[in-house]
């Protein structure tokens, strides 16, 4: 187990070259973003498209390199050089990513048990029987059972697939689970199940969440603190309940006003 699975992001900056073939222009996707996530804490980043929330998630898990700033995981700076296989494996023990689309994030040819077992084989030295037991334990943790271990992803529903994706991410026993719009593609009735699962998981195991979402109402249920991002900049940050109940920044207010509801005063969004 990782002793101190905290995450510290300091002055993070990411610039993409744009402007067609000549790359003569640049877009600042993330600009001077700083935050920390303590052990077992859940932080949400909320924003619309182009806010930089997904870029931040990708940098945290190491799929993208920052243009500036530091990412400190468990007290160690994230290296910017090419990683050895050993370094990549230990990084995988620190952060794991759950993607939005459970239809594309699982290997369609691998049975659920193999998918999860593969991660276990990579990180732990388990005997075959121990590994099987651990796979069943993980499936149980996400509300599935051992019968699902022999199934292929195509025979599972969207909600079940997302459960498998979460089980697979948890197999490496990461300190931080990064969830990038992990419930956005699901039907409402299934989305509620997965949200409940995420709420319950934090009570069962020691794991922190970095929860990326465009949906303020969803964030309310799964995060302790929230960062509201707009065009790469954190415009508001604070305890989730407080930010949603009494937002300070006009952008947070506009986001809240734009959430549909029956007595929606049409005209509020552009006012």
């Amino acid at each position: 187990m990782n002793s101190h699975p905290g995450l510290e992001v300091i002055g993070l900056r990411k610039v993409f070259a744009t402007g067609g073939r000549r790359h003569d222009d640049e877009t600042v996707a993330v600009n001077d973003l700083s935050f920390t996530i303590g052990p077992g804490e859940s932080l949400a980043i909320v924003g619309e498209s182009g806010s930089g929330k997904t870029t931040t998630a990708r940098i945290v898990v190491g799929l993208e390199t920052p243009s500036g700033g530091r990412v400190v995981v468990a007290g160690r700076d994230r290296a910017s050089h090419r990683l050895s296989a050993h370094e990549r494996r230990s990084r995988a023990r620190e952060t794991q990513l759950v993607f939005q689309d459970p239809y594309h994030s699982l290997n369609p040819r691998k049975r659920v048990g193999e998918s999860i077992g593969g991660v276990l084989k990579l990180h732990f030295n388990l005997r075959r029987s121990e590994q099987e037991a651990r796979v069943n334990e993980l499936l149980d943790l996400v509300g599935l059972d051992e019968r699902h271990a022999t199934r292929l992803p195509r025979s599972l529903s969207g909600g079940q697939r997302q459960r498998v994706a979460i089980a697979r991410a948890l197999a490496a026993e990461p300190g931080i689970l990064v969830l990038d719009e992990a419930v956005s593609a699901l039907d409402v009735s299934v989305q509620a199940q997965i949200l409940n699962l995420l709420i319950d998981l934090r009570k069962t195991i020691e794991v922190s969440y970095l929860f990326i979402s465009h949906d303020l109402a969803v964030v309310r249920y799964v995060s302790d603190r929230v960062i509201v991002m707009q065009r790469g900049i954190a415009v508001e940050t604070g305890p989730t309940q407080q930010v949603l109940a009494s937002p300070n920044h006009p952008y947070t207010k506009a986001l809240l006003a734009a959430v549909p509801r029956p007595d929606w005063p049409i005209g509020v969004a552009t006012a």
Binding site: V188, S189, V190, Q193, N196, L244, A258, P260, I266, A269
Partner: protein, 335 residues
């Protein structure tokens, strides 16, 4: 609801619509019982989860079905059967009377033609406007959906426009021929919330201005409640509830509607676990005898597995639930 053929008859009258689509081996049932009407200048929301048949209902109404589809029942537009339209009638009907906008506007516009070309075509073909006047007309259309720098936009390509802007261009084109019915299939689902609010506001304003009837398809009950006069809820290829949006939101009749409302995360109120509906949405083809929602229903009784519910008048709306009286008591007279 019983449409007598008077002037009061609804604009769109869908009667016991059934649909099968060709599957790998045989025909697969998609819609099993769809009956509803849309009155003049009424906005009706059609809400359901994936596989419920809401989009296929819209496609069946507009006769935009793939080949090999088998349809039963009828779609009446101003009392005339759309299913009996000749090719020419159908073309004219789609050009001017009924318009459809889709979720993914980028997939429904030619990416190598300019916005101006697209709108000119909409004006010239559908509205029989002379080419010279078309551009002035296009600018007027764009301004009506609050697109800034309208004239400059005509020379832009679709990829230069944001999703919200492009959807407004699609709305402008759809409303150009002054249709009587607009079918909007998840028109704002791919958009950011603030952009969605803008687009919905424009749609709402234009439909009131033009006294347009609207069939608004969405997965979002709250959005339907915010924007539509009446909401229909679909499950497994059938309509399970039909009420005014306000009443549906405050007093849902079908246990499924109640479950949907409870499972949606809220911005206010108690912060406990969500009341998730167990299981997953089923498609019409997977539904067994009896109520298709039976296996997930909190109000389940054995009779739900044997008796097939039909959509029937209840408490001012319509509901498909054999236990409606037991759950809600005998309803008060319809308002």
């Amino acid at each position: 609801m019983n449409a007598a053929k008077t002037d009061e008859s609804p604009l769109l009258d869908v009667r016991d619509l059934k649909l099968w689509l060709p599957g790998p081996t045989n025909l697969v049932p998609i819609l099993t019982a769809v009956t509803f009407a849309v009155a003049h200048a009424e906005a009706v929301g059609l809400v359901g989860e994936s596989g419920s048949g809401k989009s296929m209902t819209a496609r069946t109404v507009a006769r935009l079905l793939p080949s090999g589809a088998k349809v039963d029942g009828d779609v009446l537009f101003r009392g005339r059967s759309v299913r009996q339209f000749s090719k020419r009638e159908l073309r004219e009907w789609r050009q001017s009377t009924v318009q459809v906008i889709f979720q993914d506007s980028r997939a429904h516009i030619n990416p190598v033609r300019k916005v101006g070309d697209f709108l000119r075509e909409a004006s010239c073909v559908n509205q029989k406007i002379k080419q010279e006047k078309a551009d002035a007309n296009s600018v007027r259309l764009l301004e009506r959906v609050r697109v800034s720098n309208a004239r400059a936009r005509l020379d832009q390509y679709p990829h230069e426009l944001s999703g919200g802007l492009l959807q407004r261009v699609m709305i402008a084109a759809a409303l150009a021929p002054s249709p009587q019915l607009l079918i909007a299939d998840e028109p704002t689902t791919a958009l950011d919330v603030t952009t969605q609010a803008d687009v919905i506001e424009i749609l709402d304003e234009l439909r009131r201005e033009q006294r347009l009837s609207l069939l608004f398809i969405t997965h979002d009950l709250e959005l339907a409640a915010a924007f539509c006069d009446r909401t229909l809820v679909m499950y497994a290829g059938m309509i399970v509830e039909d009420q005014s949006s306000r009443r549906l939101h405050d007093h849902p009749l079908q246990p499924y509607t109640r479950g949907l409302l409870a499972s949606r995360p809220r911005l206010d109120g108690d912060l406990t676990r969500l009341e998730a509906i167990p299981g997953r949405p089923v498609a019409a083809a997977e539904a067994l005898t009896g109520c298709p929602f039976a296996s997930r229903c909190v109000d389940y009784r054995p009779r739900c597995s044997s008796e097939r519910p039909v959509l029937r008048p209840f408490g001012g709306g319509r509901v498909a639930c054999v236990r409606a009286e037991e759950i809600h008591g005998v309803p008060a007279a319809a308002p």
